[in-house]
């Protein structure tokens, strides 16, 4: 399988957990919908086109690996509430931010789609951001490469499933301090209704492994590696086999 790898740096990034509103914690890595959204921004897709179940993004697989440990901060923002087309009140909220994050974003799928995506990342239609629209990224490098089977050892990445229910082994290294992994149920996509509201579909549990925590997951299938990953492995977040197993709604 061909894989498009995109190495990016994000001076500031944030990935709000779906149910957090007035205190918005961030995930450590971009969730699948963010990666699909990024591809859509590069290609210039509208929201309707992006979340359409058919082409153009049908079959696009996504994964992400952290290349370094990001810094963290908490920032206060103000939401302006609009009622009757007027700003009636302001409401503060807190948002956790990641600083100086670097990621290897991975896209898998038909070669022509990946080639189109590669060209789009070189000359994107919309600004590329990870998180909110003003959290722009710097594209450092990218390439198209053939993936080969990898070892089921992961760190600083997202694996589908709840780690507590997976057969895993922690690979400790002396002298490290790490945050515990985060398990979050996230959608694999959205459906847009007639009013333009997004409805999440394909709720799937994901484990976000921090950069310093390495685990071996022997039962993990579809593990790949690339030369560009220098020995690290990844697995797709939205592999069709996983979607079928975990979320019947997404496959229909």
């Amino acid at each position: 399988m061909n894989v498009l790898w995109v190495k990016v740096a994000a001076p500031v990034a944030s990935f709000r957990r779906p149910l957090d509103h007035n205190y918005q914690r961030t995930l450590l890595l971009p969730p699948p919908t963010t990666l699909l959204g990024l591809a859509g921004a590069a290609l210039g897709l509208s929201e309707g086109e992006l979340w359409h179940k058919g082409p153009p993004l049908q079959g696009l697989l996504v994964a992400a690996l952290a290349l370094q440990k990001p810094g963290g901060a908490r920032d206060m923002w103000t939401v302006m509430k609009i009622k009757n087309n007027k700003i009636t009140e302001r409401s503060p909220y807190f948002r956790e931010l990641l600083f100086f994050a670097r990621y290897m974003l991975l896209y898998g799928g038909p070669t022509d789609l990946l080639e189109a995506l590669q060209a789009a990342f070189t000359d994107p239609v919309y600004p590329l951001s990870l998180g909110r629209e003003d959290e722009l990224i710097i594209l450092e490098d990218m390439g198209l490469e053939r993936a080969v089977a990898g070892e089921a050892r992961f760190f600083g990445t997202v694996i589908p499933g709840d780690l507590r229910q997976l057969d895993f082994r922690w690979l400790p290294r002396p002298g490290i301090i790490f945050e515990p992994p985060v398990v979050e149920v996230l959608p694999l996509g959205f459906e847009l209704d007639q009013r333009g509201m997004r409805h999440p579909v394909g709720a799937t549990p994901f484990t976000f492994l921090p950069f310093d925590l390495e685990v071996e997951v022997p039962g993990q299938k579809e593990v790949f590696t690339l030369e560009a990953l220098e020995g690290r492995s990844f697995t797709w977040m939205n592999s069709p086999s996983l979607a079928n197993r975990m979320s019947p709604s997404w496959s229909t």
Partner: protein, 507 residues
């Protein structure tokens, strides 16, 4: 708000309550546990469960109101009820009763009914918490306190426009989440609440055997658990809660033997492998008409914190090491008018809970707050052993270096007091780089006639002293020195110069 009339029109929806299917959401899972404890596992109509929850969340206010009895045409008194504090910050469902005019004034025709009601969609949709396909309701704050009105966020989160969908099970469990929380209030400044999360069986046991007996100890307007100290900030209050819980692990007058053993196993105090990991969710906000959430933290390494606590208790020894340890952390506050400023304690607690470095905050407290008080006291007994142990075990400071710092710090503080050289200690504290630090040590040598231990002058690669960053060495030395300066100020004045101290410094 949907009331009983609306829910009656809907087909009766049954909810399956069991502990086999956790949602992974700490609030809803805690609510499920509370419900299973309340009504037992099984299948129940939504309305029945909601009524059970409601009964526990309503209380009599002690005030009396009047309603018009239509049968007799007379006014009758009733006891007013409201949502129990602090759930009334989240549950804004008010009492409902039709009114009639009587003697020129409007009166309800029966005591107002406070009813939580749920209205579910006709079509099945995916629940945003558990992912089940079921009739859903639009989540409100009384079911899930972490959301806000969709109108507030809908303008820039298109998904937010539709709110959050909850299935019947998650909706009633969310409402029951309030029955399983620990909370502490600091008047109008802060409301903290805490929830433990693990697998449902462990939460159930923790609730029955530990939290319930402990929360019964103090049910007041200030909270439902007694803490050795708390303040308006999250980390200091969390540390207070953990010190309280840890104190019951080895011996407890309030917990049953089973409860004590459970707590010990959950915190990794037993030799056997601990069961499922326990996470503590701590949330702090400002109570006003509603709850303005300000901080939200998860603490997952409770085992490691317990081991640190145990080592501290062992290092302190004495009759009541628990009280000593509590006093050590309680002291980092200053009185400002009628209130206490606890920001230093918050920073120190944050560093400890994160296994980071609390020493700069202790130094700042000592120099910027304590030393500037009118009649300053030294740090409470036990502070130095607690900091020493933390520096050794968590920050990997060399044990010999710690001894040298302790001894020299003692000599330095005493000598600075004798020669009225407090400025020298501030000079030490303010050293911005290694050169300045060495210059201050040089000044100490000449002005106080003390011999600086050689160990402090062994500068290694990366500006490290005996393997520790120079700034950490400087910070520890200035803490010891200032503490001993203050101790000397309080204690009897030595008759002669610091020759004895100098000896210890030269070790």
């Amino acid at each position: 708000m949907a009331g009983r009339n609306i829910s009656r029109k809907q087909p009766e929806i049954q909810v399956q309550l069991d502990q086999e299917h956790p949602t992974g959401n700490f609030w809803v899972d805690n609510g499920l546990v509370a419900l299973c404890d309340l009504v037992g596992e099984g299948t129940y109509p939504v309305d029945k469960i909601l009524e059970e929850v409601q009964q526990r969340l309503l209380q009599k206010t002690g005030n009396v109101g009047e309603y018009l009895d239509e049968n007799t045409g007379e006014l009758r008194e009733y006891e007013k009820v409201n949502w129990v504090y602090p759930t009334n910050l989240f549950i804004k469902v008010s009492g409902n009763a039709p009114k009639k005019k009587f003697s020129g004034k409007e009166y309800p025709i029966h005591p107002p009914c406070f009813e939580l009601g749920l209205r579910f969609s006709k079509n099945q949709k995916y629940c945003d918490v558990c992912g089940d396909l079921a009739p859903v309701t639009d989540a409100k704050m009384w079911m899930f306190p972490f959301i806000v009105d969709p109108g507030k966020f809908g303008n820039f989160y298109s998904r937010g426009k539709r709110g959050i969908n909850l299935c019947p099970r998650c909706a009633v469990a969310g409402a029951a989440g309030y029955l399983n929380w620990l909370w502490v209030a600091q008047g109008r400044d802060a409301l903290h609440f805490f929830l433990f999360h693990s697998d449902l069986d462990e939460i159930t046991r923790l609730r029955r055997e530990v939290l319930h007996p402990l929360s019964l100890l103090r049910e007041s307007r200030g909270g439902n658990i007694g803490l050795p100290f708390s303040g308006p900030y999250l980390h200091e209050t969390t540390l207070g809660l953990l010190l309280e819980l840890f104190s019951h692990v080895r011996r407890s007058e309030h917990l049953s033997e089973e409860g004590r053993k459970l707590l010990a196993s959950l915190l990794g105090a037993e030799d056997s492998l601990p069961p499922a990991p326990l996470t503590l969710y701590a949330i702090t906000g400002k109570p006003g008409q509603a709850f303005n959430m300000q901080v939200f933290r998860e603490f997952s390494h409770l085992h490691a914190l317990y081991r640190l606590y145990e080592a501290w208790i062992k290092a302190l020894g004495g009759d009541n090491p628990q009280r000593t340890l509590t006093n050590v952390f309680r002291q980092f506050q200053t009185r400002e008018g009628n209130q206490y400023n606890t920001l230093w304690r918050e920073k120190i607690a944050w560093a400890v809970l994160e296994f980071s470095d609390p020493l700069p905050y202790v130094e700042a407290f000592l120099f910027d707050a304590r030393a500037k008080e009118k009649n300053p006291f030294p740090l409470s007994w036990g502070t130095e052993p607690v900091l020493d142990h933390y520096a050794k075990e968590v920050l990997n400071v060399d044990e010999n270096l710690l001894r040298v710092l302790g001894g020299f710090g003692h000599s330095l503080g005493t000598a600075a007091h004798e020669k009225n050289e407090m400025g020298l200690l501030y000079g030490l504290r303010n050293a911005k780089n290694l050169e300045e630090f060495l210059r201050v040590l040089n000044d100490i040598q000449f002005r106080l006639e003390l011999t600086v231990p050689e160990k402090l002058l062994e500068i290694g690669q990366g500006e490290r002293v005996a393997g520790s960053p120079w700034v950490r060495v400087k910070t520890m030395l200035s803490i010891y020195a200032m503490n001993n300066y203050l101790r000397a100020e309080k204690g009897p004045k030595p008759e002669q110069g610091g020759s004895a101290n100098e000896q210890s410094a030269g070790e």
